[in-house]
C-alpha cells in the first residue's frame, strides 16, 4: 500500500560513469549546503530576545489582592474542583479579629498550593473562581532542580502588595458582565475600577 508520494524503490543498478566520478554529486551537495549560508537563522536568543506572546497568554498563576491589599481568595475550593489535572490543593481557616486588612472574606486559604508540574495551564481555575482571585499571567514558570520546588505555595502565588500584577488582559468583558449578576455582589468593586 502506498502511503506517501515520497517513497522510492531501492535500486541496486551499477553507478553510471558520472556517478562514479563523485565530483558532480559533491558539487551538487556543496551547492545545497552553500545555499544555506544565506538563509534566515531560525534561532531566537532566548534570554536576550523574547518571542512575542499572546496578550492572553496562560502562564504562571497569581492570587490577586483587592484594592485594599486584602487577599481575595476565600478557599471555596471551586478551582480545585474545576482543575482537570488536580494540581490545586488548599486548606482553609477562619479570619480572626484584626485580620480584616489581610483577608477580604471571613474565610481564607491558610495554604494554597499549585503543582506546576501537574498544571496544564488550561485556565479553568480562573473561570471557576467566583471571587476573581486566581488569574493566569504572562509570566513563565521558572525552572528548578528538585521536583518539590515546583509545588508553589502562597509565598510565590499571592501578589505582593507593592508589586501588583496586571491581569486586565485576561479579564474579558463577558466574564466581568457575568459576574455582575446580583448574588455575586462581591464583584462590585469592578464597577468603579477598570471595567464598567
Amino acid at each position: 500500500m502506498k502511503l506517501t508520494n515520497r517513497s522510492k524503490v531501492v535500486s541496486n543498478k551499477e553507478q553510471s560513469f558520472t556517478e562514479r566520478l563523485y565530483l558532480p554529486g559533491i558539487i551538487k551537495g556543496m551547492a545545497i549546503t552553500g545555499s544555506h549560508l544565506f538563509k534566515r537563522r531560525a534561532t531566537v536568543k532566548y534570554p536576550d530576545e523574547l518571542r512575542p506572546i499572546a496578550a492572553v497568554y496562560r502562564g504562571q498563576h497569581v492570587l490577586k489582592r483587592d484594592e485594599n491589599g486584602a487577599e481575595r481568595c476565600t478557599a471555596c475550593g471551586l478551582c480545585a474542583v474545576a482543575c482537570p489535572a488536580e494540581a490545586i490543593t488548599m486548606e482553609s481557616a477562619e479570619r480572626k479579629k484584626g485580620e480584616e486588612g489581610l483577608y477580604r472574606e471571613e474565610k481564607y486559604a491558610k495554604t494554597y498550593e499549585i503543582n506546576m508540574l501537574r498544571c496544564i495551564f488550561c485556565g479553568l481555575c480562573e473561570e471557576a473562581c467566583p471571587k476573581e482571585a486566581i488569574f493566569l499571567t504572562d509570566r513563565i514558570v521558572d525552572t528548578e532542580y528538585e521536583r518539590e520546588d515546583f509545588v508553589y505555595g502562597k509565598d510565590k502565588l499571592v501578589e505582593k502588595v507593592d508589586k501588583r500584577i496586571d491581569v486586565s488582559k485576561r479579564q474579558t468583558l463577558e466574564v466581568a458582565e457575568f459576574k455582575k449578576i446580583p448574588g455575586l455582589k462581591h464583584n462590585e468593586v469592578w464597577k468603579g475600577n477598570k471595567l464598567k
Binding site: I26, M30, I32, T33, R40, K45
Partner: protein
Amino acid sequence: MLTVILVKLITCVIVFAISLGVAAYATLWERKFSALLQDRVGPDRAGPKGLLQPLADGGKMFFKEEIIPNVSNKFLFILGPSLFMITALMTGTVIPWGKDFTTANGTTYSFQITDINIGVLYLLGVVSIGVYGIMIGGWASNNKYALLGAIRSSSQMISYEIAMGISVIALVITAGGTLSLREIVGQQDAGWANIVYQPLGFLIFFVCALAETNRAPFDLPECEAELVGGYHTEYSSMKLGLFLFAEYINMFISSAVMSAFYFGGYNFPFAQELYHAMGLQDGSIWISIIGFGAFFTKIVIFICVFMWIRWTLPRFRYDQLMNLGWKILLPLSLLNLAITVGVEFLRGNLHF
C-alpha cells in the same frame, strides 16, 4: 651575523604566532561556519560576537584533569602529541609568505624563514613524520580503539602520500624543475598560475591534502561512530588540545601550500599594474605586505572550502578510502605525470 640570527628569530616568532593564531581562530570559524551552513547562530557568548571563544576553549583545555593511563607507555604517550604539534609547526618554515623587501640602507629581508632548495621535499618529509605523532600516541595509549585509529591514520597517509608526491612531481616539471618553494611561487609571477597547467594535478593534490590533514570526508582515524575517539581516545586536557589544534595548523599550512603551488602564492592578477598605479618601487615593504594580504586571502578561502567540504560530505568507508587512494588517485596522478612530461617534452623544456 648576530643581526641575521636576530632577524631570522623574529621571522620565526612571527610565523609561529600567525600559525597558532590562525589555527585558534580556525577552530572558532569552523564552529561558526558549520552553524551558518546549518542555519544556526554558532558560538556568540564569549566576548563580542564570540571572538574570545578560542581563549575560553584553550583555558578549559588547560584546566581539565590530566589523565595518563597506568598501562600506557608514559614517555611515548607524551611524545605523541608533542611530535604531532612540532611537525605541524615545522612545515611553516619553507613557505614564502611575501616578496622580499629592501630597506633604505640596502639590506634585503624576506618574508620567509628559510628558502631551502629542496623545500618541496622537506615539506613532504615533515608531513609524513607527522603521522608518527598519531601512530606513537595511538600505540602508547594501550587501547584498541586508539591503536585502530592510529593504524588507519598511518595507512591512509601512506596511501595518499604517493598520489600526492606524484602530482607534485608533475607540478615541479611544469615549474621548471625547481624544488624551492620561493622559485615555484616566483615563476608564477609573470605568467599564469600553475592551476591553469595542472588542473588535474591540483584536484589530486587537494583530495590528498584533505586525507593528509585527516579532515572529513577522510577523518577515519577519529571516526567517533566506530572508534570512540580514534587515536586520541585516551588523551585529555591540553594533550588532547594539542592533537586537535595541530589538525588546524595542518589545515592552515596545507592551504598555504596549495595556494603557493597552484594559485601563485603572494601573486595576484594585475599585481604589477596595481603596484605601478600606487607608485611603489620594486623592493618596497608595501609590495610585500599587499602580497602577504593576497596570499592570506587565498589561504582563508581554502580553509573555508575545507570546512565547507567537512560539513557537506559524509565520511568514506574504509574500503572506499583505499579504493579511491590506490585505484583512482594513483593511476590518475600517473596519467597526469605522463601527460605533463609529454607536453613539456614537446615544448622542449625537458632535456635528457
